[in-house]
């Protein structure tokens, strides 16, 4: 589903114009991005929680050069699913 399709549906549901929905959508996503880039985590209820984590520097083998490489540290996004969504997708799987 594309963004415009999502926006259309949301706009109908919330009785807002599509432009308003879009501005909400963009600010929402931007806000989440800023939070993560500051290293703050948050939870979207029913979906899961996000947090930024520092992946430590490590060494790894590069098969192309056949040499070890030094990988610098990196801050990455981690997501862990909520228990509600876990149960939902797994129950649905059993019913099928």
């Amino acid at each position: 589903m594309t963004k415009s399709e999502v926006l259309k549906e949301l706009a109908e549901e919330l009785e807002l114009t599509q432009a308003d929905t879009e501005s909400l959508y963009d600010s929402f996503v931007e806000g989440l991005t800023v939070l993560l880039s500051r290293g703050k985590g948050f939870t979207l209820p029913g979906l899961g929680s996000f947090h930024a984590e520092i992946r430590a520097a490590h060494k790894s083998y590069n098969p192309h050069y056949e040499k070890m490489m030094r990988i610098p540290e990196k801050q990455v996004v981690h997501f862990s699913q909520s228990s509600t969504i876990r149960d939902q997708i797994n129950n649905e799987g059993e019913n099928e």
Partner: protein, 337 residues
């Protein structure tokens, strides 16, 4: 905890930013989450533009352990939601560390070693500055000493030049001061004049400097001459961690398949061809030709060396490898005829 932001805070920030009231903002985020969930359940995939995508993944059954009692348990196959951040999000989150880059650990060595191990005598004068950087790695103690003295001389000379220049500056500015009190326009002349004289003073430095370099160059030349006159020319290489002949050969010659040459040069009766200890010094024979254009003598030496490798493998019961290198030996021998 300061590291976590509550849902209520997110909603408040959203309503402040967009001007909608909190109810509307919350309704929006609820609806969006519901939309994602619905899509995940229906298609197994969902995405938030500019943020990331969610996907339902199948997890296979596996053996686990009860963390409290330690008894083994079977974790049944199940599904889970995974999240992949999009590039924009990844880059923003990693902005703090974006300047860091991966690097090959052996890279530095492979760049410097070939120049060091197979130096071309004709290039010596041009390579002189580089030579200074490399010397700590080389094993010629006397050359190292020469360099240290050279560096010392350069340092002392620069100090002297600076002292002279500053002395001159003090004197000349002393003279100028009288004049400058009368005419402020003349002041800029002082630094300019000082600059003019400094090159004159430094003229003596490059001369002595190059003398020192000449001495070094000569030393270096004699070092290479001692060894490069005969085809059995040898350089020394210190083995680093995780290195084998094959890899060293590639570093030194640019061709891994020449490793028997190194093995033969350093062969003592019962060395396994696949074992090599860290920090030992290996003698690296120098080719008569170049790696891409071998002379017949080089081919003969390769053939001989492959024979030695073959023998060494046979001693350790590796008949397969022994046969392989016998074949190589024959191949090189034909090429050397």
């Amino acid at each position: 905890m300061s590291k976590k932001v509550t849902y209520a805070e997110i909603i408040e920030a959203l309503s402040q930013k967009t001007g909608f009231n909190k109810q509307k903002s919350e309704a929006f985020s609820k609806a969006l989450i519901a939309e994602i969930k619905k899509e995940l359940q229906e298609t197994g995939k969902a995405s938030i533009t500019n943020f990331g995508s969610f996907k339902v993944k199948e997890v296979a059954e596996r053996q686990g352990q009860n963390p409290q009692t330690g008894e083994p348990i079977t974790i049944p196959a199940h599904k889970r939601v995974s999240f992949t951040p999009y590039k924009a999000l990844k880059e923003k989150v990693n902005a703090k560390y974006a300047h860091l880059e991966t690097e090959l650990i052996d890279e530095e060595k492979s760049k410097t070693e070939p120049a060091e191990v197979a130096p071309l005598p004709s290039e010596w004068p041009e390579r002189e500055p580089k030579q200074e950087v490399f010397t700590p790695k080389t094993t010629y103690g006397d050359r190292k000493k020469g360099n240290n003295i050279g560096l010392l001389i350069v340092a002392v000379l620069t100090l002297v030049v600076i002292a002279l220049a500053s002395l001159w500056f003090v004197f000349s500015s002393g003279d100028e001061q009288v004049a400058s009190e009368k005419a402020a326009l003349e002041q800029p002349q002082t630094p300019a004049a000082a600059e003019q004289v400094v090159p004159g003073e430094t003229d003596s430095q490059p001369q002595t400097d190059s003398e020192a370099e000449n001495v070094e160059a000569e030393e270096a030349k004699t070092n290479t001459q001692n060894t490069s006159t005969t085809p059995a020319d040898v350089n020394v290489y210190t083995v680093k961690e995780n290195e084998w002949y094959w890899r060293i050969s590639r570093t030194v010659y640019g061709k891994p398949e020449f490793w028997p040459l190194i093995f033969q040069q350093n062969y003592t009766s019962d060395v396994h061809p696949d074992s090599l200890e860290k920090n030992i010094r290996l003698e690296i024979p120098v080719l008569e030709g170049t790696a891409s254009n071998l002379t017949k003598g080089d081919y003969r030496r390769l053939a001989e060396a492959s024979g030695v490798v073959s023998d060494a493998y046979r001693k350790f019961g590796r008949t397969d490898k022994a046969a392989e290198y016998e074949r190589f030996a024959r191949k090189w021998r034909r090429a050397g005829m």
